[in-house]
Amino acid sequence: MANPAAPGGARSFLQAVSTVTEEAPTPLRVVQMEGLAVLKIIKHCEEFAPALVTGQLLGLDVGSVLEVTNCFPFPIREEDDEADADGANYQLEMMRCLREVNVDNNTIGWYQSCLLGSFQTVELIETFMNYQESIRRCVCIVYDPSRSSQGVLALKALKLTDSFMDLYRNNGLTGEKLREKKLSWVDIFEEIPIKVSNSALVSAFMKELEPESPVTQCDFDRLKLSTAPFMERNLEFLIGCMDDLSSEQNKFQYYYRNVSRQQSQQQAWLQKRRQENMARKAAGEEPLPEEDPSNPIFKPIPEPSRLEGYLVTNQISSYCNHINGVAGQNFNRLYLMKALHED
């Protein structure tokens, strides 16, 4: 039974594959970054930390791989129209210049620095939507300078999930629609694994110039015992987020209370109207309609968007991840210290 089924299965698989490639673009699986782009991002973000900076990613879109081959920084933005126009000019100029020296001048997203992983903001989502309008596939690379002092290369490639984008575009971030789509806060962002590639030339240079040293600065950073300040700030932010979340919750409670009050008012009004109608019927008069759109109690109360709450939840979860990660490292370090001390 299984044998005859196999060729049929294979054919249908092939068919399935061909139809998939025709209908939908292949999903993005990997972001492949050049060492040059990684270094440029790190340089830009570190130089301006703790100020948050952004820049443009340039590269190629090859099947399921997005190659980031170069990038350039944006100047720090000032809040007026003139600066905005200036920024646009700068961007065009830079792209033109880079094209002249044969750099891939195809925008594929942007990078930004963040503080302790708190990148999940409404602005980020708006930027995503802006980019998405012009580029079908774009990605945001987030670099966290504060974590690199811990010996971690904190680079993350993010994109919004398609289902979230659909809902966001159609203003569908209400409880009912979210439930319909089964979209929860985990489904807003999708992290894409990053690969790093280097040209053979660069790799040869690095191998030649940097002899294999037994320890690097990175190792020292990782074995540092003082992580308290980092943890403290993480916790501080976590507490802040908790406050935000509870205020979001309050908003919803307020909304639900209002809705239920409105419903009981509607019921009361309806009952009154029916009694009135009965009386009118008894008196032989025309009954009044059972609906009254002009009455304020029938006006639907707008439901607050769930976006904020979801984003805050996302942040909380990333703080929790940090805390867990660093605590895990701390355990390692402490036991190492204990072992050394016993020796």
Binding site: I42, E100, S199, M206, C218, Q329
Partner: protein
């Protein structure tokens, strides 16, 4: 297409102020030079470009950034796209005003014929520019990166030649340390290490080092290796760097820290639980 403005460059007497004594180059510059060499136009033998950075008080030039400038060379003349150079500099200046022109780079081994002309152009942009050469062809079978300054040789009023003098070059690559050489050395890294994996590799390295020291000490004690006082002192220094604590005090310290961390882990997991419960309750509330 941008209008290129070719310019013929002739030597001119340069001004006098103390030239930089040494240079420090960040990894990103090297990466950029290599990348631009890979992407050079068809007929070009070499690429040149501008180096940006700052002059440190001790006379060291710190090269932190760079960009390529299109140019063309023939037997006796060199044309540089000066407009491109200025546009690009203006753009870089907008992002980081602290980085100024400090010199120029070229691929290839050592100084070549056209270099004097290009150097002359840059010495009109900035006093005492440095010239960095990156041997992308590995002509000597090794990676050679050299920095030069130029001085004029003149006899009386007559200008005879420009002399390029090599200055010490420091390739410390502080930024690159952060990214970890592992990902920059090989041509393809499948996955970035996360917190715990990084920790693991560091621990492994530490183990290897400790084992090596053990082995060395054992060898010395048993007379297999001639003792080296310098190494002995280093080892005793690092052993002495452990703070002396009574076992009780150490235990207290250790346990306190462990408790702190456990509390943090507990807190974070309880937060997560709370979030997921809240999520469920919220959806339930909507159903009702």
């Amino acid at each position: 297409m941008a209008a290129t403005s070719p310019a013929l460059l002739f030597p001119s007497p340069s001004s006098t102020s103390s030239p930089p004594s040494s240079a420090r180059v960040e990894a990103v510059v090297l990466f950029n030079v290599c990348d631009s060499y890979v992407r050079r136009p068809d007929q070009a033998d070499r690429v040149i470009g501008t180096l940006l950075g700052s002059l440190l008080p001790d006379g060291t030039v710190h090269v932190r950034n760079s960009y390529v400038v299109p140019h063309s060379e023939s037997a006796d003349q060199v044309a540089i796209d000066i407009e491109y150079h200025h546009n690009m500099y203006a753009s870089h200046h907008k992002v980081n005003p602290k980085e100024v022109i400090v010199g120029w780079f070229s691929t290839g081994f050592g100084v070549s014929g056209g270099s004097t002309l290009i150097h002359d152009f840059y010495s009109r942009e900035v006093q005492n520019p440095i010239h960095l050469t990156v041997d992308t062809g590995f002509t000597r079978g090794e990676a050679s990166i050299k920095a030069y300054i130029s001085s004029n040789l003149s006899l009386g009023d007559r200008h005879l030649a420009a002399q390029f003098q090599e200055i010490p070059l420091d390739l410390k690559m502080i930024e690159a340390e952060k990214a970890g050489f592992e990902i920059l050395k090989s041509t393809l890294v499948e996955k970035l290490p996360n917190d715990l994996e990084g920790m693991e590799s560091s621990m492994e390295k530490l183990y290897v080092l400790i084992d090596e020291i053990y082995k060395y000490v054992d060898d010395v004690v048993e007379g297999r290796v001639a003792p080296d006082n310098r190494i002995g002192r280093l080892i005793s220094d690092s052993v002495a760097s452990m703070p002396k604590l009574t076992p009780a005090a150490f235990d207290k310290l250790f346990n306190d820290r462990i408790q702190d961390n456990l509390a943090l882990v507990y807190l974070s997991s309880i937060t997560r639980t709370q979030i997921s419960i809240a999520e469920k309750l919220n959806t339930a509330a909507q159903v009702l």
